[in-house]
Structures are given as structure tokens and as C-alpha cells.
Subunit: 243 residues, 2 copies
């Protein structure tokens, strides 16, 4: 793990790093020492490790809960090189969707393929980050919606250090089998008028989660329109389960 730059603002330290080939960013309380909860955040499709939706949430987790937060670029996103195979499949899927094919299973197949790469990549992230004295081996949380849900469900299912997860904007076609293996508390977000994830598939993914404690929050609006008050709820959810 090599750090390349560091800045601080409003009490939050932001450090860019690479872990092998993977570029990432770590947020932590400025000047703090000792073990703390770590939240790994997965970004959305076409976004990157420091997309506004990721960074705004990360800074609040640090400032209000004292957590450390880490995000890395998904293959083919952000500062990572283009991936020819993924690009080829994406182009193919667009053509198939344009020709009338149902988009949801195409996205599901693609996310399952990418997850075979990201699950081991993401499992290496807490291995490295938790060696830092100001992070330590505390409880781990996961936050990810949309692509971050499609890749997050198999990650959370595979990683026993994860104690709680916020997921959503994803459908059962992508990951019902892995969802059934998740047993930690989950807060699951559905957008009631999601133009990308059919409502019944989002509800089916919530239904498939194996967790005894899982809570579905559904709100009106499209895929990108999660209301601001859900971030307050996410903060309380993580504080309850990781704090």
C-alpha cells in the first residue's frame, strides 16, 4: 500500500493510495489515533472512488461517527485503465438492449463477471488498511448502491469481517444466490420509480437477503434520487452496528 498524496479539511484527512494496481482513497479523522470502525464504499457504474455521492457520505461517516472510510476504483473506472473485455461486453449489451432485449439480466451477468475480480480485490483492502495504526482491526461496514450493490452483495457474502451493510438500487437477477448467504444487518434502499431496476426485482433482492435483521427503505423517485434524509438514517444504522 503506497500513499501518493494527503490533504485535510474540516477535520477529515483524505489520502490517495495504490494497493498493487488498484487506486484508492482513505478518509479518516485528522490527527486521530487508535482502532476505529472501517466502512468500505463501492461506487456506482460510470463513477469512481471519489464521486460526489461517495465523498459526501464518506466525510460524514468520518466527521460524525469517527470512522475510517475507504473506496477503490472498480476495474475500468476512475484512474484504472480501460478494460477491453468489459468494454466489449458493455458495447454488446447496449446493442442487445437497443434491439429490445431485457436489460436487467444483461446487467446482472456483467456485474457477476466483474464481481469475480472485485471480491478478491476488495478483500485485500481491509487487509492493508487495517494495518494502519489509526484504523486498526475494528468492525467493518459496507456501503454500495447500484453497481456498488451488484458488486457489494457477493463481497459482503464472502467477507466475514463485514458486520453491517447498506445496499440497494439493485435487483435479484444480479445476486439473489449470494444475498441468501448474507447474515449481517442490512439497510436496503429501493427507489419506488427506479427506471433501471424493476421494482419487483429490488423487492425480491431484499427478500432474498438471509439476514435476520434487514430493513427496507423505499422512496418515490428515480434511480439517482435517494432523498437526503436516507443519509441520516445510514449514519445511525452504521453507528448502531459498528459504533
Amino acid at each position: 500500500m503506497r500513499f501518493s498524496s494527503e490533504t485535510s479539511s474540516d477535520g477529515v484527512r483524505e489520502q490517495f493510495f495504490t494497493l498493487g494496481e488498484i487506486p484508492g482513497v482513505l478518509w479518516s479523522p485528522e490527527g486521530a489515533a487508535g482502532t476505529r470502525p472501517l466502512v468500505l464504499m463501492g461506487h456506482g457504474g460510470g463513477q469512481h472512488k471519489k464521486a460526489p455521492g461517495v465523498a459526501v457520505r464518506a466525510r460524514r461517516f468520518v466527521a460524525e461517527c469517527g470512522f475510517a472510510v475507504v473506496a477503490v476504483d472498480v476495474p475500468g473506472h476512475g484512474d484504472r485503465p480501460k478494460d477491453e473485455e468489459y468494454d466489449r461486453i458493455t458495447t454488446e449489451n447496449r446493442a442487445r438492449a437497443a434491439a429490445g432485449e431485457d436489460l436487467a439480466p444483461l446487467i446482472a451477468g456483467f456485474q457477476a463477471l466483474v464481481a469475480r475480480q472485485t471480491v478478491p480485490e476488495w478483500r485485500a483492502v481491509p487487509d492493508a488498511v487495517q494495518r494502519l495504526e489509526y484504523v486498526g482491526a475494528g468492525p467493518v461496514g459496507y456501503w454500495g448502491v447500484s453497481l456498488g450493490c451488484g458488486l457489494g452483495v457477493p463481497f459482503v457474502a464472502a467477507e466475514p469481517r463485514v458486520r453491517a451493510a447498506v445496499l440497494g438500487l439493485g435487483g435479484s437477477a444480479a445476486s439473489a444466490e449470494a444475498a441468501a448467504r448474507i447474515t449481517v444487518p442490512v439497510e436496503f434502499l429501493v427507489q419506488w420509480d427506479d427506471e433501471r431496476v424493476p421494482r419487483d426485482q429490488g423487492l425480491a433482492l431484499f427478500d432474498a437477503l438471509g439476514s435476520a435483521e434487514k430493513t427496507l427503505h423505499a422512496n418515490p423517485g428515480g434511480h439517482g434520487e435517494i432523498p437526503a434524509f436516507e443519509l441520516d438514517s445510514t449514519l445511525r444504522f452504521f453507528a448502531r452496528h459498528l459504533g
Copy 2:
């Protein structure tokens, strides 16, 4: 409005009253003066104005938000006389359900009948209570699940003083038409394994709400098993919209 008794504990004053023929209870901050938000609570079927689920919530609304809270007995419940017509219909419905008839529309029909009586009764409650100096004409909220949802939906639709409502454990058969006339923010509770309200009917009632801001919270478990953390969420919801 005639008060019959008054006690206080933990900073919460509890006053029993009758309004015409209707017995009720009013909770307010002990020794407080001036206008404050008022939450009207509707109890569940077979329960009453001071059932534990009502009283526990009421005391927290008062202690943590400084609200006043009022609940009255539904006809045929608590300290009200038995109602021969309602009893006859209930007995009939039980026999029809035992004979294999679908229970949901029977309950819906019964609740619609009772609501014709309770909507005007409940609208008279803030008329009276808001005349008290320590309540005043502040914003009004409504909380009610199960029977409290079946009767609450037509009440909230009819009463313009209500600015926010927590509803749930109710189905679309009972009140979809009135739900469409509700425009205030609603937090709507669904129990994912509700043995009394089919899941699709609960989701359909949420869908039918006319409110631009509405949020569905669904949790695993049966009809009576709303998790404790939902009360924390309810408090924040009312604080946000009435406070």
C-alpha cells in the same frame, strides 16, 4: 371536554378526559406552557387508548420532542360500551373467514364502516385539545398502524391540520381511494411476513398514497413485531415535520 383524573411521572403529565361520549387520554410535558405540536394516535383492533404500544410511544413523543399526544377509544373498545352492530358484523366476518372467505376485504369493509363514525369523532379531538393553553394550535401529526391505519387513512385524508403521518400494517383494500387524497409526508410501516395483511396489499397501499414525500420501512416478522428501532425513526420523522 371534561378531565376526570391526572397523574405525572418522569416529566410526563397524563390526563384522562371525556369529550362528549368519547373517553380519551392526553399526555403533555409536566408544567409546560404554550403552543406545541399535537400527535393524535389511533390504537389497534381489540386495544384501547392506553394500550402499551400507544402509551410507550406517547411518552417518548412528549419526553423527547416536547409534543402533546392524545388518544381516544375507538367505538366498541376500551371504556366505550359494546356496539351491537359492530359486534354482529365481527361475528359474521369470523364465520365467513372460517368458511374460507378471504379475510382482507371483510376487514376493509368493516374498517370503512367504523371510519364513517371515527373520522368526525377524531376531527373533534384537536378542536377541543388545541383550546388548552399548554397545547395550542400547533401542527398536528397522526400515528396509527393496523386498525389505526385503516381508520387513520380516511382521517388524515379528511383533516387539513394533519401535517405528517406514520401509518402501516394496513392494506390497499381498506383505503386506497382515501390514500390517494393524502398529500402530507408519510412514514409507512410494512411487516414483511405479516400474517394478517398480504404483503402486496401493504405495498399497494404505500403505492396509493398521494404524498410526494413518503417513505416505506419494511422489516421481517409478523404483524405485531415492528422492531424497536422504528420508534426512533418515528420520533425523528415527527421532529422533522412537526418540530
